[in-house]
Amino acid sequence: MTVQQTPSTPGSSLPRVDVGRPRFDRNVRTNLFWKFVAFALLCAIGAAVLFPALWMLSTALKPDTQVYANPPIWIPNPLRFENFTEAWSLAPFTRYFFNTALYAVAVVFGTVVSCSLAAYGFAKLRFPGRDLLFTILLSTMMIPGMVTLIPQYILFSKLHWVGTYLPLVVPSYFAGAFFTFLLRQFFMGIPNEYSEAARVDGASDFWIWSRIIVPLSKPALATVAIFTFEGAWDSYVGPLLYLNDERLYTLQVGLQFFRTASAVQWQYLMAAALLVMLPVIIIFFTFQKYFVEGSSIQGGVKG
């Protein structure tokens, strides 16, 4: 409307603001509308995501008379914190806890050391066949784990490793493809000037790796460590397959047997499940930054 009132001479362009203003107002209004829709949707999805976790927490704190209440009680009265200690003593969870912790730490150490060594080789050193080997490394990520599950089991049983932690820990010392790839990408971003300067001074590659590359890569190494820890802490099929002695069970195996062994009450099961998840939850909130950044590099292989 304002456009029409302005006398226009041929060749003179109108001030942009005049043309833009009505459309700009409409955009602000539609933007506000879409923001409101987005916020409402986020709240709804957020509630759906939080809901099972809150239900778990609620059940874990209930006295047994309120577990099966209908309609369900969301805030138990009284809050029974004893559920946690009682659930913990229903199975040898303290032993399982130490088993799992030692296993996870051993796997994290092996993964971080071996993957960063291999990644350094692929990122910083030249040798014949490097690109071909790296392509092979990448393509192994597409091989279904089930194809190697059986032959690996046969291999470990021939070595008489079944019934020990060796089949679960030893492979992690041989640089898995995924984290090697992730670390190589990170190492490629470290300028070569650092290592060249050290090399001129006569430093060995091992020195460069341990004194230059590793200290500069703490965020990437922390990402690998956190995700490896979470993976080891949560692994179920491996421990179930290889640990046939009850004294060696991990928390995940113990938790599952805890369910099937007897008719366990849900408040205890949920309390035990929460305790089992607690270390991972603590790590998440402590290293939230690494977690969120790291998984964007990771590309969500866990799907």
Partner: protein, 304 residues
Amino acid sequence: MARMSRMRRQEALNGYLFIAPWLIGFLAFVAGPMLWSLYASFTNYDVTSRMDWVGLDNYRRLLFDDQLFWISLYNTGFYVLFAVPLSVITGVLIAVLLNQQIPGQRIFRTIFFLPKVLTGVAVLLLWLWVFNPDFGPINVFLRAIGVQNPPLWFSDPTWAKPALVIMSMWGAAGGYIIYLAGLQGIPRHLYEAAQLDGATPVQQFWNVTVPMMSPTIFFKLVTGIAAAFQFWEASLIISDGGKGGPSFSTLFYGLYMWQKAFTEYQMGYASAMAWVLLLITLLLTGIQFFVSRRWVYYEGEARS
């Protein structure tokens, strides 16, 4: 010159030493086992002494005599068909919503990441409780809104797989991060140009966001489908006695292979199953790469 080549040789030697952990591991835990497994798939290996060559007999039995093989393949296909697209949609939707300037963004990001942290047996037991036919909150809610006979979920052959798909969508919420990273890489001027042309936000989504996100979506489809074909551990924990019940409705491919290998010790037969799975995965990946030329848009790529 001689000095140079000696340095080169030293560097190459160091290179092999540094990648030795991976190379040895690859030969011992991947390549060797794979070749062994291929050989075993042509035998009747049962862990004891027998390892007679039976030719293609395992494969023939799988394809023509084994009803459960086809059931497990169907169940796995069902899961792939629903869980993968729904997971991608969930992830993209959350990422698009979080990409707006909205109050509480940090809190939302933390909440939506929780499913990626809460994993393992504990969470599966939690879902058993959430889907409990009598006391689980889902059925309590369904009854409250007037559904007379809500599904029995994990106890009902019709509803056990959909329940697992719902679980997978919850887990996929944590996958928003990779899409968010992709979204933030889209240049702003594309949206500004679309706005000047009068495109609505929905049109902008289909004509700018989706094409620019297509490489990320493609990557998630390829890896997601490969992963979903291996989905079975949840069924081992959730299904009745870990056998894939009720009525074989959650007997997934991996679970059936696990039973053949580790409860019946038919290692040769199970190895054949593993190789069929490998072929399916390769075939589907190949098809996806072929089809991707039609819909995946790479910026800077010359189009004819």
